[in-house]
Symmetry: C2
Subunit: 168 residues, 2 copies
């Protein structure tokens, strides 16, 4: 299930984010302001701005895939300044996650996961998924969403969740 949680579902949410970015871009065009204003927006003066939220979101997704499968995730230097650059970053993460299949995650639950700033400490893969990766992923996605919502972009829960595959 870790594959579904941190790969398939992250890709799905990143694709939904692309739709949200479309709406943000249309809003900036309609109101005739520079999209960069939204990219630099934040909800508090000591909070990361929209661009940084997306960068961290992307890192959370790619690190999940790398760490949980025992591979080194690709580096991104955090130089994005424009919407097309942010979109390219998201696309590169979607592509990276798409390069894995469920069997790559066979040992994910018990794999030791560590990040450089954890100073040698680690979490078991299952704990990392539950306590760290998912709460962080949704945190930065929703914070990015909230920054746009606060600035008047016409987005709602459906844009965030995407269509549900209801059965009857």
């Amino acid at each position: 299930m870790i594959y579904d949680l941190t790969n398939t579902q992250y890709v799905r949410m990143l694709q939904n984010l692309n739709g949200i970015l479309d709406k943000a871009s249309q809003f900036a065009e309609a109101k005739k302001f520079d999209m960069g204003v939204l990219l630099e927006s934040r909800l508090a003066p000591d909070q990361f701005n929209f661009t940084r939220q997306i960068q961290i979101l992307c890192d959370t997704a790619k690190r999940g895939a790398g760490y949980l499968t025992g591979k080194e995730p690709p580096a991104h230097p955090d130089t994005e300044k424009t919407l097309p650059e942010l979109r390219a970053r998201i696309a590169s993460v979607i592509s990276y996650l798409g390069s894995f299949s469920e069997k790559d995650y066979a040992d994910a639950a018990t794999r030791k996961v560590s990040q450089p700033r954890w100073e040698g400490k680690y979490l078991a893969g299952k704990e990392y998924v539950l306590l760290h990766s998912m709460p962080n992923f949704y945190f930065h996605l929703t914070t990015a969403y909230s920054i746009l919502r606060h600035n008047g972009v016409d987005i709602g829960k459906k844009d965030y969740l995407g269509a549900m595959p209801y059965k009857s």
Copy 2:
């Protein structure tokens, strides 16, 4: 794993929320304003306010436990107006989730989950967890957090995530 994802972890995040509410309450006292101002705050005029975000968060958690185990979740009439009332709602959901054990979730992945407003349609339990319950839970939790953050409450990612059980 569905038990860990939607029960243990939701309880953990709701306990972290209690700490966030402590900080919000201390902020209101220090600044000498009525806590009700924060409870009625929102990030956009057509967004649910803080109180409603917490009510929906609580409903998402309790419905997850009920629907995934084949039980009818308890009703809450959405009448909370004060912080103690909101705390009581959170406590009641933590207590409800605590009444389940992992074996209650044995059939959760394949159980048909439906909500009244889905008009008879359903999701399989696993889809409900992945696509609906978790994205909604973290959405409303982070939105509530963002409303406080935007209003100056001194909270950060650690308050949201809680302490990580790092091993060395």
